[in-house]
Symmetry: C2
Subunit: 380 residues, 2 copies
């Protein structure tokens, strides 16, 4: 089996991720942060350690400003729906996933205005195009770091500077970048950083997180038991409790720590270099095959290892089916929960066959997939 | 180690739960419901099978009306915040967990009225007291099936009948009952059933679910990618997608299926009988010890295996500390995220030491804890 669907979820994970999730469930599977007995404290400690490790990784000064969520979608909704109020304006882009577009469009019906800035045909968003969209009531810029369709890396640091200069909140969706491209919330002036645990960070599904910069007036969209201020029937304001209601996915969070540990041991720059090399090889070889169209930046340095292609005018689902059925190759076809991004690159009808590489893919696997694509073009 | 904190999360889980979570991560850890390759389809099938199995268990006719959530708190928020609008009135009770009380109190600030019906000193809520609270604008009755503080089993079927007769939506928090006491959403006239996966159902943390009866006009509080209607920047209305945005906790859901399988094989009535027997023995023996106060219904049949106690006027945290430190006994002290319930039973200051038994506790363990409690009363 050849797995090139790492943009959906990375697979495999490091072995220690599986082992530590198992151990957490079996050895100390108590509720973290509720009771005070030894096993609950151990569970709580593990969650805390993960919080601290992730915070260091993203240069978040106070680990309590990092909250754990179910997935990145929940984190994005918390930032968007919890912050924007009637009369506010939010700038977002055509390259966003529906996890940003759908809450933004929902808020439109509640009086929150929005501008969607369109990308060029490589999926790139310029600082200038964002700047042009700023209004007096612009409260937030909400955009992705790396497109989940084209892999395009956005000029986050430049746009962060712009946001800071204009006093606008900056929300970054790091779904495709966390664990793959270095992120520094201070240097990049990021006010909200939302990321999944199960993609580039190599943790299990059921994990995600949101960093909220100190002093922002964001409401929570979920209230409940926090284990703190239990005497009160109102949600506590203290962090991270305000945004962490109910039982956390403790074993998942433990697994996430192991995923991050693997990245720290391997070096994020080594993972990035390897994925760049695979992307580069893949793109270069596919360019030689007649009938194959590759989308996104031509240069692998300007993109993450997310590469959508099409073969002639074949439906992307058909190509993916053949890849799966005949070659045991896992990719994702169709629209990638990012309809306007498909508009930007012109694949709204055909969809795209998305190859996305992870740290465990090899050059041999990529070579095999190139051969498969070549054969498909020949057999039509 | 003696674990009596099953109301916080059950521990241990059946061995197969650990094994199947591990297998799901390692063998077919793809994103369910996104891509169409064999591994993604296998992941998707597992999620679907769990949905169907849970639906049968609660007599839910259409499995797509059951949605997976992060935890029960999220499920409760989805039902409460997604349904109640300005001008509506909701009836809830003093026995609720903060996961019900806090969203209800939050909605008060948005113009949703509420009445909190108080329990008697055993934590019992009568149908009559609910009936008295009904107003012309009452939209929902939101209440727990079993108190997480006193274990009191509420007359859900009676109140369900009342709700149906009056055309009021009925939301049941099954946090302490799902997997322990049989629930039939039709027979009990339940419109929303919220439950965690990691308590009585013996699944892993990071799992929960919400049943929403057909045809209810509930909004989602989270929007995002659903893998369906990807071309649209608006949330789809189809179930369960409307309420399931972003990547699900697939390995957790697989584990939940195994937890439920264990219950089905053992028989829920056998688990209930065993827990009743342990509770009965525990209560009877503690009654003989001077200085021990037991809260909740005297009869184990009228309660789940959740038994709060206090020793003389000792702070509940101190007692729990001694139990943990000297006896390796895990319980939960303090207030149990249910402040008004403590008011109802008169333990707002002292808190309570909560013993909660699970299907793997033994009579020997309970005997050991009785001896420990006896010794503590003697050493003061």
């Amino acid at each position: 089996m050849y797995y090139f669907d790492n943009a959906a979820t990375t697979f495999p994970k490091p072995e220690t991720v599986y082992d530590k999730v198992y151990e957490a469930m079996k050895e100390y599977g108590a509720n973290p942060g509720r009771s005070g007995h030894k096993m609950a404290l151990k569970a709580n400690r593990e969650v805390y350690d993960t919080r601290v490790l992730l915070s260091k990784f993203f240069n978040i000064k106070d680990a309590f400003n990092l909250i754990f969520t179910f997935n990145c979608t929940t984190a994005l909704n918390m930032a968007i729906r919890g912050t924007l109020k009637e009369g506010d304006h939010v700038i977002t882009t055509s390259m966003e996933h529906n996890s940003v577009l759908r809450p933004v469009k929902h808020l439109e019906s509640l009086g929150v205005e929005n501008t969607i800035v369109y990308a060029d045909e490589d999926g790139y968003i310029t600082k200038e195009s964002i700047e042009k969209a700023i209004r007096t009531n612009t409260k937030m810029i909400a955009m992705t770091h790396v497109s989940n369709l084209t892999g395009t890396v956005m000029p986050i640091e430049e746009i962060g500077k712009l946001a800071k200069a204009k006093g606008i909140l900056f929300l970054v969706d790091a779904s495709q970048s966390a664990g793959v491209i270095p992120i520094d919330v201070d240097k990049m002036n990021i006010d909200f950083l939302a990321f999944p645990g199960h993609k580039g960070l190599l943790g299990p599904q059921g994990t995600g997180a949101l960093f909220i910069r100190d002093g922002l007036n964001t409401d929570t969209i979920i209230q409940g038991g926090t284990g703190s201020e239990s005497y009160s029937i109102y949600q506590p304001e203290i962090m991270p409790d305000k945004f962490e209601s109910g039982t956390l996915n403790m074993p998942g969070i433990v697994g996430l720590k192991e995923g991050l540990n693997y990245i720290l041991e391997t070096g994020i720059e080594n993972i990035r270099r390897k994925e760049e090399k695979l992307s580069c090889y893949f793109i270069e070889e596919l360019r030689k095959i007649e009938g194959v169209r590759i989308y996104g930046p031509a240069d692998a340095v300007q993109r993450a290892a997310v590469i959508p292609i099409n073969i002639l005018d074949m439906d992307s689902s058909e190509v993916s089916y053949i890849l799966d059925d005949r070659y045991d190759i896992c990719v994702r076809p169709g629209l990638h929960c990012a309809p306007l991004a498909h508009e930007s690159i012109g694949t709204l009808e055909q969809g795209a066959v998305r190859f996305s590489f992870g740290p465990f893919n090899t050059e041999e696997e990529v070579e095999y997939s190139i051969r498969a694509i070549y054969e498909i073009t020949k057999q039509i």
